[in-house]
Amino acid sequence: MAEMWLNMGPQHPMTHGLWNLRVKVDGETITEAEPVIGYLHRGWEKLTENRKFAQIIPMADRLCYGASMSWSHLYCLTMENLLEVEVPERAKYIRTIVLEAQRIGSHLMWLAALGTDLGSYTVFLYPVRERELFLDLMQNLCGARMTYNYPRIGGVRNDVPANFERDFTRVLNHFEKRLPDYEALCDQSTVFRMRMEDIGYLSAEQAKNLGVTGPNLRGSGVDYDVRRDDPYEVYDQVDWKVCVEKTCDAYARYRVKMDEMRESCNIIRQCIKKMPKGAIRVKAPRTAPRGKTAWAHVEDPRGEGFMYVIGNGDDQPYRLKVRSPIFVTVSAAPAMLVGYKVADVPAIMGSVDMCLGETDR
Protein backbone atom coordinates (compact mmCIF):
# COMPACT_ATOMS: atom_id res chain seq x y z
CA MET A 1 0.00 0.00 0.00
CA ALA A 2 1.25 3.50 -0.72
CA GLU A 3 2.47 5.47 2.27
CA MET A 4 0.95 8.83 3.01
CA TRP A 5 1.46 11.80 5.30
CA LEU A 6 -1.23 12.49 7.86
CA ASN A 7 -1.57 15.79 9.74
CA MET A 8 -2.60 15.36 13.38
CA GLY A 9 -3.10 18.99 14.32
CA PRO A 10 -2.88 21.94 14.70
CA GLN A 11 -6.56 21.45 15.55
CA HIS A 12 -6.82 17.92 16.86
CA PRO A 13 -8.11 16.59 20.20
CA MET A 14 -4.77 14.86 20.78
CA THR A 15 -2.58 17.96 20.70
CA HIS A 16 -3.30 19.76 24.03
CA GLY A 17 -2.23 23.12 22.75
CA LEU A 18 -1.44 24.21 19.26
CA TRP A 19 1.02 22.03 17.43
CA ASN A 20 1.04 19.68 14.52
CA LEU A 21 2.24 16.11 14.42
CA ARG A 22 2.85 14.95 10.88
CA VAL A 23 2.95 11.18 10.68
CA LYS A 24 3.72 9.05 7.67
CA VAL A 25 1.56 5.95 7.71
CA ASP A 26 1.72 2.67 5.90
CA GLY A 27 -1.81 1.42 6.36
CA GLU A 28 -2.17 2.10 10.07
CA THR A 29 1.49 1.71 11.05
CA ILE A 30 3.58 4.83 11.59
CA THR A 31 6.80 4.77 9.57
CA GLU A 32 7.94 8.35 10.13
CA ALA A 33 6.89 11.25 12.31
CA GLU A 34 7.67 14.94 12.36
CA PRO A 35 6.42 17.36 15.02
CA VAL A 36 5.80 20.90 13.78
CA ILE A 37 5.77 23.64 16.43
CA GLY A 38 5.87 27.42 16.47
CA TYR A 39 2.15 28.22 16.36
CA LEU A 40 2.40 29.81 19.82
CA HIS A 41 5.77 31.53 19.36
CA ARG A 42 5.72 35.03 20.81
CA GLY A 43 9.42 35.88 21.06
CA TRP A 44 9.54 35.61 24.84
CA GLU A 45 13.32 35.75 25.02
CA LYS A 46 13.44 38.89 22.89
CA LEU A 47 10.63 40.52 24.89
CA THR A 48 12.61 40.18 28.11
CA GLU A 49 15.48 42.20 26.66
CA ASN A 50 13.31 45.32 26.93
CA ARG A 51 12.00 44.66 30.44
CA LYS A 52 13.39 45.37 33.90
CA PHE A 53 14.36 42.40 36.03
CA ALA A 54 11.28 42.56 38.25
CA GLN A 55 8.94 42.99 35.29
CA ILE A 56 10.01 39.64 33.89
CA ILE A 57 8.66 37.63 36.86
CA PRO A 58 4.97 37.82 35.82
CA MET A 59 6.04 37.16 32.23
CA ALA A 60 7.79 33.99 33.34
CA ASP A 61 4.50 32.83 34.85
CA ARG A 62 3.01 32.84 31.36
CA LEU A 63 5.58 30.38 30.02
CA CYS A 64 3.40 27.54 31.22
CA TYR A 65 0.01 28.20 32.72
CA GLY A 66 -0.11 24.68 34.14
CA ALA A 67 3.09 25.03 36.17
CA SER A 68 3.64 28.76 36.34
CA MET A 69 5.17 28.74 39.82
CA SER A 70 8.11 26.62 38.71
CA TRP A 71 8.91 29.00 35.85
CA SER A 72 8.83 32.23 37.80
CA HIS A 73 10.83 30.44 40.49
CA LEU A 74 13.40 29.32 37.93
CA TYR A 75 13.74 32.89 36.69
CA CYS A 76 14.25 34.20 40.24
CA LEU A 77 16.79 31.45 40.95
CA THR A 78 18.77 32.40 37.84
CA MET A 79 18.70 36.08 38.76
CA GLU A 80 19.83 35.26 42.30
CA ASN A 81 22.84 33.47 40.83
CA LEU A 82 23.55 36.49 38.64
CA LEU A 83 23.15 39.08 41.38
CA GLU A 84 24.74 36.85 44.05
CA VAL A 85 21.86 37.01 46.49
CA GLU A 86 21.43 34.49 49.30
CA VAL A 87 17.78 33.71 50.00
CA PRO A 88 16.64 33.48 53.67
CA GLU A 89 16.00 30.00 54.99
CA ARG A 90 12.27 30.49 55.56
CA ALA A 91 11.77 31.67 51.98
CA LYS A 92 13.53 28.54 50.74
CA TYR A 93 11.12 26.34 52.65
CA ILE A 94 8.09 28.27 51.44
CA ARG A 95 9.36 27.98 47.87
CA THR A 96 9.86 24.25 48.19
CA ILE A 97 6.33 23.81 49.51
CA VAL A 98 4.70 25.82 46.75
CA LEU A 99 6.84 24.15 44.08
CA GLU A 100 5.72 20.72 45.20
CA ALA A 101 2.09 21.84 45.45
CA GLN A 102 2.50 23.14 41.91
CA ARG A 103 3.94 19.80 40.83
CA ILE A 104 0.90 17.97 42.18
CA GLY A 105 -1.43 20.46 40.49
CA SER A 106 0.40 20.09 37.18
CA HIS A 107 0.43 16.29 37.35
CA LEU A 108 -3.28 16.26 38.19
CA MET A 109 -3.99 18.34 35.13
CA TRP A 110 -1.94 15.94 33.06
CA LEU A 111 -3.84 12.97 34.48
CA ALA A 112 -7.14 14.66 33.66
CA ALA A 113 -5.99 15.30 30.08
CA LEU A 114 -4.81 11.71 29.75
CA GLY A 115 -8.21 10.56 30.94
CA THR A 116 -10.03 12.38 28.16
CA ASP A 117 -7.43 11.20 25.65
CA LEU A 118 -8.19 7.61 26.51
CA GLY A 119 -11.93 8.10 26.75
CA SER A 120 -12.43 7.88 30.50
CA TYR A 121 -14.41 10.88 31.59
CA THR A 122 -14.21 9.90 35.25
CA VAL A 123 -10.42 10.10 35.16
CA PHE A 124 -10.89 13.63 33.86
CA LEU A 125 -13.37 14.77 36.51
CA TYR A 126 -11.78 13.37 39.67
CA PRO A 127 -8.27 14.86 39.30
CA VAL A 128 -9.66 18.22 38.21
CA ARG A 129 -11.80 18.25 41.35
CA GLU A 130 -8.78 17.62 43.59
CA ARG A 131 -6.63 20.07 41.66
CA GLU A 132 -9.10 22.74 42.65
CA LEU A 133 -8.11 22.24 46.30
CA PHE A 134 -4.48 22.97 45.47
CA LEU A 135 -5.49 26.01 43.46
CA ASP A 136 -7.45 27.19 46.50
CA LEU A 137 -4.34 26.82 48.66
CA MET A 138 -2.37 28.90 46.18
CA GLN A 139 -5.11 31.48 46.01
CA ASN A 140 -5.01 31.75 49.78
CA LEU A 141 -1.27 32.27 49.56
CA CYS A 142 -0.97 34.80 46.77
CA GLY A 143 -4.38 35.71 45.46
CA ALA A 144 -4.21 34.07 42.06
CA ARG A 145 -5.36 30.71 40.81
CA MET A 146 -2.95 30.07 37.98
CA THR A 147 -0.41 32.81 37.25
CA TYR A 148 0.89 33.51 40.72
CA ASN A 149 3.64 36.16 40.43
CA TYR A 150 4.76 34.93 43.85
CA PRO A 151 8.55 34.33 43.93
CA ARG A 152 10.77 37.40 44.07
CA ILE A 153 14.46 37.89 43.34
CA GLY A 154 15.77 37.36 46.87
CA GLY A 155 12.80 35.57 48.43
CA VAL A 156 9.04 35.45 48.09
CA ARG A 157 6.44 38.20 47.88
CA ASN A 158 4.57 37.68 51.13
CA ASP A 159 4.63 35.45 54.15
CA VAL A 160 2.25 32.53 54.45
CA PRO A 161 -1.34 33.34 55.47
CA ALA A 162 -2.92 32.36 58.78
CA ASN A 163 -3.74 28.65 59.11
CA PHE A 164 -1.40 27.85 56.22
CA GLU A 165 -0.12 24.69 57.87
CA ARG A 166 -3.57 23.50 58.93
CA ASP A 167 -5.03 24.02 55.44
CA PHE A 168 -2.14 22.30 53.70
CA THR A 169 -2.29 19.33 56.06
CA ARG A 170 -6.04 18.97 55.55
CA VAL A 171 -5.74 19.05 51.78
CA LEU A 172 -2.86 16.57 51.80
CA ASN A 173 -4.74 14.19 54.09
CA HIS A 174 -7.73 14.33 51.79
CA PHE A 175 -5.63 14.05 48.65
CA GLU A 176 -3.64 11.06 49.84
CA LYS A 177 -6.93 9.26 50.50
CA ARG A 178 -8.14 10.02 46.98
CA LEU A 179 -4.94 9.08 45.16
CA PRO A 180 -5.52 5.28 45.41
CA ASP A 181 -8.90 5.88 43.75
CA TYR A 182 -7.30 7.37 40.65
CA GLU A 183 -4.79 4.56 40.54
CA ALA A 184 -7.59 2.02 40.81
CA LEU A 185 -9.51 3.80 38.05
CA CYS A 186 -6.50 3.52 35.73
CA ASP A 187 -4.60 0.43 36.82
CA GLN A 188 -7.65 -1.82 37.15
CA SER A 189 -9.15 -0.67 33.88
CA THR A 190 -8.43 -3.19 31.13
CA VAL A 191 -8.94 -0.55 28.46
CA PHE A 192 -6.44 1.79 30.09
CA ARG A 193 -3.81 -0.94 30.49
CA MET A 194 -4.27 -2.20 26.94
CA ARG A 195 -3.80 1.27 25.53
CA MET A 196 -0.81 2.24 27.73
CA GLU A 197 1.26 -0.89 28.17
CA ASP A 198 4.00 -1.83 25.69
CA ILE A 199 3.62 1.22 23.51
CA GLY A 200 5.84 4.26 23.03
CA TYR A 201 9.00 2.36 23.92
CA LEU A 202 11.97 4.65 24.60
CA SER A 203 15.15 2.94 25.78
CA ALA A 204 17.37 4.49 28.43
CA GLU A 205 20.16 5.10 25.89
CA GLN A 206 17.78 6.82 23.50
CA ALA A 207 16.19 8.90 26.23
CA LYS A 208 19.56 10.17 27.45
CA ASN A 209 20.91 10.86 23.99
CA LEU A 210 17.76 12.62 22.77
CA GLY A 211 17.72 14.93 25.78
CA VAL A 212 14.46 13.66 27.28
CA THR A 213 14.27 14.76 30.92
CA GLY A 214 12.09 14.59 33.99
CA PRO A 215 9.40 11.94 34.57
CA ASN A 216 9.76 10.77 30.97
CA LEU A 217 13.47 10.06 31.51
CA ARG A 218 12.80 8.29 34.78
CA GLY A 219 10.12 6.24 33.05
CA SER A 220 12.96 4.91 30.90
CA GLY A 221 14.85 3.69 33.95
CA VAL A 222 17.43 6.50 34.29
CA ASP A 223 17.86 7.45 37.92
CA TYR A 224 18.40 11.19 37.65
CA ASP A 225 16.53 14.04 39.26
CA VAL A 226 17.86 17.60 39.42
CA ARG A 227 16.25 18.02 42.84
CA ARG A 228 18.50 15.31 44.28
CA ASP A 229 21.55 15.46 42.02
CA ASP A 230 22.03 19.22 41.88
CA PRO A 231 19.98 20.37 44.85
CA TYR A 232 18.44 23.82 45.02
CA GLU A 233 16.22 25.33 47.74
CA VAL A 234 15.94 22.73 50.55
CA TYR A 235 15.55 19.47 48.65
CA ASP A 236 18.78 18.20 50.23
CA GLN A 237 17.36 18.68 53.73
CA VAL A 238 14.25 16.56 53.38
CA ASP A 239 14.08 12.81 53.07
CA TRP A 240 12.50 11.63 49.84
CA LYS A 241 13.12 9.21 47.03
CA VAL A 242 13.37 9.53 43.27
CA CYS A 243 10.67 7.56 41.44
CA VAL A 244 12.02 5.36 38.63
CA GLU A 245 10.30 2.78 36.45
CA LYS A 246 12.14 0.34 34.25
CA THR A 247 9.65 -0.69 31.58
CA CYS A 248 10.32 2.33 29.29
CA ASP A 249 6.77 2.47 27.88
CA ALA A 250 3.89 4.92 28.14
CA TYR A 251 2.60 3.08 31.20
CA ALA A 252 5.96 3.58 32.99
CA ARG A 253 5.79 7.32 32.35
CA TYR A 254 2.30 7.32 33.83
CA ARG A 255 3.46 5.35 36.91
CA VAL A 256 6.37 7.73 37.56
CA LYS A 257 4.07 10.76 37.61
CA MET A 258 1.61 9.03 39.95
CA ASP A 259 4.41 8.08 42.37
CA GLU A 260 5.83 11.59 42.20
CA MET A 261 2.58 13.04 43.48
CA ARG A 262 2.86 10.86 46.58
CA GLU A 263 6.51 11.91 47.07
CA SER A 264 5.51 15.57 46.69
CA CYS A 265 3.01 15.15 49.56
CA ASN A 266 5.81 13.66 51.61
CA ILE A 267 8.16 16.59 50.85
CA ILE A 268 5.49 19.17 51.68
CA ARG A 269 4.72 17.52 55.04
CA GLN A 270 8.39 17.51 56.04
CA CYS A 271 8.90 21.12 54.95
CA ILE A 272 5.89 22.32 56.93
CA LYS A 273 7.27 20.59 60.01
CA LYS A 274 10.79 21.98 59.57
CA MET A 275 9.97 25.50 58.39
CA PRO A 276 11.88 28.03 60.54
CA LYS A 277 10.78 31.54 61.48
CA GLY A 278 12.52 34.58 60.10
CA ALA A 279 12.79 36.89 57.11
CA ILE A 280 11.17 35.91 53.82
CA ARG A 281 13.02 38.24 51.50
CA VAL A 282 16.29 40.15 51.14
CA LYS A 283 16.88 43.20 49.04
CA ALA A 284 18.54 42.37 45.73
CA PRO A 285 20.73 44.72 43.68
CA ARG A 286 18.88 46.40 40.84
CA THR A 287 21.59 46.20 38.20
CA ALA A 288 23.94 43.53 36.92
CA PRO A 289 27.39 44.12 35.39
CA ARG A 290 27.65 43.92 31.61
CA GLY A 291 28.83 40.57 30.33
CA LYS A 292 28.34 38.72 33.59
CA THR A 293 26.57 35.42 33.09
CA ALA A 294 24.68 32.98 35.29
CA TRP A 295 22.45 29.98 34.85
CA ALA A 296 20.27 27.67 36.87
CA HIS A 297 18.36 24.50 36.21
CA VAL A 298 15.46 22.98 38.12
CA GLU A 299 13.20 19.97 37.99
CA ASP A 300 10.06 21.32 36.40
CA PRO A 301 6.99 19.01 36.58
CA ARG A 302 7.75 18.14 32.95
CA GLY A 303 11.53 17.86 33.02
CA GLU A 304 14.64 19.94 33.30
CA GLY A 305 13.94 23.66 33.06
CA PHE A 306 16.96 25.86 32.48
CA MET A 307 17.68 29.56 32.13
CA TYR A 308 20.86 31.36 31.12
CA VAL A 309 21.14 35.10 31.63
CA ILE A 310 23.67 37.77 30.67
CA GLY A 311 23.82 41.15 32.41
CA ASN A 312 23.92 44.40 30.48
CA GLY A 313 25.26 46.92 32.99
CA ASP A 314 21.75 48.20 33.67
CA ASP A 315 18.51 46.77 35.02
CA GLN A 316 17.63 44.76 31.92
CA PRO A 317 19.11 41.47 30.77
CA TYR A 318 21.27 41.44 27.64
CA ARG A 319 20.05 37.95 26.81
CA LEU A 320 17.85 35.44 28.57
CA LYS A 321 17.83 31.94 27.17
CA VAL A 322 15.18 29.42 28.21
CA ARG A 323 15.41 25.68 27.85
CA SER A 324 12.01 24.15 27.95
CA PRO A 325 11.81 20.43 28.78
CA ILE A 326 8.95 19.66 26.41
CA PHE A 327 10.66 21.50 23.54
CA VAL A 328 13.31 18.76 23.59
CA THR A 329 10.99 15.89 24.51
CA VAL A 330 8.69 16.56 21.58
CA SER A 331 11.70 16.50 19.25
CA ALA A 332 12.20 12.93 20.46
CA ALA A 333 8.60 12.01 19.59
CA PRO A 334 9.55 10.15 16.37
CA ALA A 335 11.65 7.73 18.44
CA MET A 336 8.60 6.89 20.54
CA LEU A 337 6.07 6.74 17.70
CA VAL A 338 7.64 4.85 14.82
CA GLY A 339 6.37 1.29 14.54
CA TYR A 340 3.13 1.82 16.47
CA LYS A 341 -0.39 2.41 15.14
CA VAL A 342 -2.04 5.76 14.52
CA ALA A 343 -4.52 4.94 17.28
CA ASP A 344 -1.64 4.76 19.77
CA VAL A 345 -0.57 8.36 19.14
CA PRO A 346 -2.94 9.97 21.69
CA ALA A 347 -1.82 7.56 24.39
CA ILE A 348 1.90 7.98 23.67
CA MET A 349 1.83 11.77 23.38
CA GLY A 350 -0.59 11.96 26.31
CA SER A 351 1.89 10.14 28.52
CA VAL A 352 4.52 12.79 27.70
CA ASP A 353 2.53 15.70 29.20
CA MET A 354 2.70 18.33 26.49
CA CYS A 355 2.68 22.05 27.25
CA LEU A 356 2.97 24.39 24.31
CA GLY A 357 3.39 27.68 26.15
CA GLU A 358 6.88 26.77 27.24
CA THR A 359 7.72 24.86 24.06
CA ASP A 360 7.19 27.75 21.68
CA ARG A 361 8.02 30.56 24.13
Binding site: K46, N209, G211, T213, F327, S331
Partner: protein, 167 residues
Amino acid sequence: MSEVRKMQQRIGLAPGGKTGDVLAQEIIQRFPQGVTVTKATLNRFYAQVDKGMLLKLANFMKEHQDFEHVTSVGGVDWLAEKKMQVVYHITSYANKVTAELVVDLPRDKPEVDSITPLWGGANWHERETWDMFGIVFIGHPKLERLLNPDGTEVFPFRKDFVSGRRV
Protein backbone atom coordinates in the same frame (compact mmCIF):
# COMPACT_ATOMS: atom_id res chain seq x y z
CA MET B 1 35.68 16.05 56.50
CA SER B 2 36.89 17.77 53.38
CA GLU B 3 34.66 20.14 51.48
CA VAL B 4 34.74 17.79 48.49
CA ARG B 5 33.62 14.79 50.48
CA LYS B 6 30.79 16.75 52.11
CA MET B 7 29.55 17.88 48.74
CA GLN B 8 29.83 14.37 47.34
CA GLN B 9 27.84 13.01 50.22
CA ARG B 10 25.26 15.72 49.94
CA ILE B 11 24.57 15.06 46.29
CA GLY B 12 25.06 11.32 46.68
CA LEU B 13 27.87 11.11 44.16
CA ALA B 14 28.61 7.61 42.92
CA PRO B 15 31.88 6.21 44.33
CA GLY B 16 33.48 6.13 40.88
CA GLY B 17 32.24 9.61 39.96
CA LYS B 18 34.59 12.47 39.20
CA THR B 19 34.17 16.04 40.37
CA GLY B 20 34.11 19.04 38.07
CA ASP B 21 37.65 20.19 38.84
CA VAL B 22 39.04 16.71 38.11
CA LEU B 23 37.24 16.61 34.77
CA ALA B 24 38.53 20.10 33.99
CA GLN B 25 42.10 19.00 34.77
CA GLU B 26 41.73 16.05 32.39
CA ILE B 27 40.60 18.42 29.66
CA ILE B 28 43.50 20.82 30.29
CA GLN B 29 45.94 17.93 29.98
CA ARG B 30 44.30 16.49 26.90
CA PHE B 31 43.88 19.86 25.13
CA PRO B 32 46.80 22.16 25.99
CA GLN B 33 45.72 24.56 23.25
CA GLY B 34 42.35 25.75 22.08
CA VAL B 35 40.48 25.16 25.34
CA THR B 36 40.69 27.59 28.27
CA VAL B 37 39.07 26.48 31.51
CA THR B 38 37.95 29.67 33.22
CA LYS B 39 36.46 28.22 36.40
CA ALA B 40 35.97 24.79 37.91
CA THR B 41 34.03 23.81 41.02
CA LEU B 42 32.79 20.50 42.37
CA ASN B 43 29.83 20.12 40.08
CA ARG B 44 30.43 22.75 37.40
CA PHE B 45 33.14 23.86 35.05
CA TYR B 46 33.31 26.68 32.56
CA ALA B 47 35.48 26.75 29.44
CA GLN B 48 36.16 28.98 26.47
CA VAL B 49 36.64 26.82 23.38
CA ASP B 50 38.11 27.61 19.96
CA LYS B 51 35.78 27.02 17.04
CA GLY B 52 37.99 24.32 15.52
CA MET B 53 38.41 22.41 18.77
CA LEU B 54 34.72 22.11 19.69
CA LEU B 55 34.00 18.80 17.99
CA LYS B 56 37.19 17.20 19.32
CA LEU B 57 36.42 18.35 22.84
CA ALA B 58 32.79 17.23 22.57
CA ASN B 59 33.92 13.81 21.35
CA PHE B 60 36.35 13.50 24.26
CA MET B 61 33.71 14.55 26.77
CA LYS B 62 31.19 12.08 25.41
CA GLU B 63 33.51 9.10 25.02
CA HIS B 64 35.78 9.46 28.06
CA GLN B 65 33.95 11.60 30.60
CA ASP B 66 30.36 10.28 30.44
CA PHE B 67 28.71 13.51 29.36
CA GLU B 68 25.40 12.07 28.17
CA HIS B 69 22.99 14.95 28.07
CA VAL B 70 22.84 18.31 26.30
CA THR B 71 20.98 20.67 28.59
CA SER B 72 21.01 23.62 26.27
CA VAL B 73 22.56 25.23 23.22
CA GLY B 74 21.96 28.94 22.79
CA GLY B 75 23.24 31.87 20.81
CA VAL B 76 24.28 35.36 21.89
CA ASP B 77 24.72 38.31 19.57
CA TRP B 78 27.42 40.77 20.68
CA LEU B 79 26.74 43.59 18.26
CA ALA B 80 29.28 46.11 19.62
CA GLU B 81 32.03 43.49 19.91
CA LYS B 82 31.25 42.25 16.37
CA LYS B 83 31.02 38.63 17.44
CA MET B 84 28.51 35.90 18.05
CA GLN B 85 28.65 33.30 20.76
CA VAL B 86 27.27 29.81 21.03
CA VAL B 87 26.88 28.67 24.63
CA TYR B 88 26.65 24.94 25.34
CA HIS B 89 25.57 23.41 28.63
CA ILE B 90 26.36 19.71 28.78
CA THR B 91 25.53 17.47 31.73
CA SER B 92 26.98 14.20 32.90
CA TYR B 93 24.43 12.00 34.67
CA ALA B 94 27.14 9.65 35.91
CA ASN B 95 29.35 12.36 37.46
CA LYS B 96 26.55 14.86 38.17
CA VAL B 97 28.60 17.66 36.65
CA THR B 98 27.42 20.35 34.23
CA ALA B 99 29.89 22.00 31.88
CA GLU B 100 29.47 25.36 30.19
CA LEU B 101 31.34 25.72 26.90
CA VAL B 102 31.48 29.07 25.12
CA VAL B 103 32.51 29.35 21.46
CA ASP B 104 33.20 32.75 19.88
CA LEU B 105 32.35 33.23 16.20
CA PRO B 106 32.92 36.17 13.84
CA ARG B 107 29.69 38.07 13.35
CA ASP B 108 29.99 38.31 9.56
CA LYS B 109 30.43 34.54 9.14
CA PRO B 110 28.94 32.68 12.11
CA GLU B 111 29.62 29.00 11.44
CA VAL B 112 30.38 26.20 13.85
CA ASP B 113 30.38 22.39 13.78
CA SER B 114 27.16 20.73 14.81
CA ILE B 115 27.16 18.44 17.84
CA THR B 116 23.87 16.80 16.84
CA PRO B 117 25.66 13.69 15.45
CA LEU B 118 26.95 13.11 19.01
CA TRP B 119 23.89 14.10 21.05
CA GLY B 120 20.49 13.96 19.40
CA GLY B 121 19.18 16.28 22.10
CA ALA B 122 21.06 19.19 20.53
CA ASN B 123 19.09 18.86 17.30
CA TRP B 124 16.27 21.33 17.96
CA HIS B 125 18.41 23.64 20.07
CA GLU B 126 20.77 24.15 17.14
CA ARG B 127 17.90 24.46 14.73
CA GLU B 128 16.32 27.14 16.93
CA THR B 129 19.64 28.99 17.23
CA TRP B 130 19.92 29.05 13.44
CA ASP B 131 16.31 30.16 13.20
CA MET B 132 16.80 33.06 15.62
CA PHE B 133 20.43 34.13 15.12
CA GLY B 134 21.44 32.81 11.71
CA ILE B 135 24.31 30.80 13.16
CA VAL B 136 25.09 27.95 10.76
CA PHE B 137 25.74 24.52 12.28
CA ILE B 138 27.84 22.54 9.82
CA GLY B 139 26.71 18.92 9.62
CA HIS B 140 23.27 19.46 11.13
CA PRO B 141 20.74 17.02 9.61
CA LYS B 142 17.94 19.52 9.07
CA LEU B 143 18.75 23.20 9.40
CA GLU B 144 15.32 24.66 8.69
CA ARG B 145 13.00 27.20 10.29
CA LEU B 146 11.52 25.84 13.50
CA LEU B 147 9.63 28.49 15.46
CA ASN B 148 9.39 31.13 12.74
CA PRO B 149 7.28 30.33 9.68
CA ASP B 150 8.97 29.00 6.56
CA GLY B 151 10.11 31.81 4.31
CA THR B 152 11.04 34.24 7.09
CA GLU B 153 13.92 36.34 5.80
CA VAL B 154 15.18 37.85 9.06
CA PHE B 155 16.89 36.52 12.18
CA PRO B 156 14.77 38.12 14.91
CA PHE B 157 17.00 37.61 17.97
CA ARG B 158 19.94 39.51 16.48
CA LYS B 159 20.49 42.82 18.22
CA ASP B 160 20.18 44.84 15.01
CA PHE B 161 16.65 43.54 14.55
CA VAL B 162 14.35 46.13 16.08
CA SER B 163 11.39 44.53 17.83
CA GLY B 164 8.05 45.80 16.69
CA ARG B 165 9.31 46.32 13.14
CA ARG B 166 7.22 44.93 10.31
CA VAL B 167 9.04 42.22 8.39
